[in-house]
Symmetry: C2
Subunit: 218 residues, 2 copies
Amino acid sequence: MEKEIEYKNIPLFEGISEENLTRLLYCINSFKREYEKGETIILEKDKVPYIGIVLSGSVHMLKNDIWGNSTLLSYVTEGELFGENFAVMKIPESSVTFQAASHTKVLFLAASKIIHTCENACSFHAQIAENMFNLLGRKSISFMNKIEIMSKENIRGKLLAYISMLAQQQKSKYVITPLSRTQLAEYLSVNRSAMTRELSKMRDEGIIDFDRDTFVIK
Amino acid sequence: MEKEIEYKNIPLFEGISEENLTRLLYCINSFKREYEKGETIILEKDKVPYIGIVLSGSVHMLKNDIWGNSTLLSYVTEGELFGENFAVMKIPESSVTFQAASHTKVLFLAASKIIHTCENACSFHAQIAENMFNLLGRKSISFMNKIEIMSKENIRGKLLAYISMLAQQQKSKYVITPLSRTQLAEYLSVNRSAMTRELSKMRDEGIIDFDRDTFVIK
DNA sequence: TTCAATCTGTTGCAATTGCAACACACTAAG
DNA sequence: CTTAGTGTGTTGCAATTGCAACAGATTGAA
């Protein structure tokens, strides 16, 4: 759990040889930091000239409104990026809060070094830019998936859409959610007790089965 | 209404001189097409190696599920891009349908020419790549905004969040929505009649006022 | 203009959801 | 081990929403 992902397995670095990667990390000002569970990584309104890569643990993207309601917009796990949507903007200011969901290690890279062509004309710069385009597209698509889940007319529809999405990602009937019940309710924007009520009802009707964080659609 | 946006006002082309733009459009295989209201531009599962730029009219991004329910995921208007999230992927396949919401003119550009460095080493290639990064970030953020709107606990909250978002975009108290009532209900994923009921109630309570497609929060 | 098709607002009723309160797990710190 | 704090499942009740049916308004084509 505490083990970091190997750099060669990070999607942003795909297609870059290990020797070049060492040079790259030097060329792109990069640094590492660790966060405790619950610690804030980036606060709403913060300037974010850096792209974060989760080396271990996971990061939650949260939005708090004026009335104190908190929403879990999305979450990222090992190897994935966060803050990149803001970092690639002209004025890189975050409109959300990023928080460590567990003990988390993060590698930060200066976004400007990826967006702008390198003065040294590193051969691998083109590769990382291309990977970055890919990942920005992928991130948008994952947001679209969440919109699709939330667009379901009732709690049952949302749960089924969420579990189906996980099944597709995990390529298995048996899926594991990284979210607690309370967090899942916050993620789907439904009342927690109404959600557990619906889960029980769906199990009684034989539509799904679950044990703790593992779900199956039958 | 039928007039096309000028190329120099398209965000993707920002910072590129008009002479260079002519060369660019030649370098990047580009072509124009027109669509009738309601016509499908890109169907789910279609390959989309092209980025679309709306020159006039507007485009709706739709998702249809197995049971025939349709959701309006997002919409883009003059000068904005669509399909770019899929086009920048390694396997550029759309997971949604794009449809002309009115009579619409579209300029298509080959995404590969933007993502990969140009063989001719056009000086303005770096500029368009940078603009593309910006716009991909912006698109992600607009999806996050929609998630935030949909995360509101009831119809009233969703409507207020939507109108507030428009007010921020249009920098005015008086906002105009490009969506019909039926479309707005589909966009917010709520029942149409329940939505008009809530709108009336909010007007009665003096919270908002509206006339046709114009809204004010009081 | 005329007419059909679609959009819009309204309302009563049924279903779903949120709320609040509670008991019982589980977790982490002392 | 003990204990406080937090997460989870349950339930009755109230509020919100969806559904269906309808009438009037609006739109677009002939």
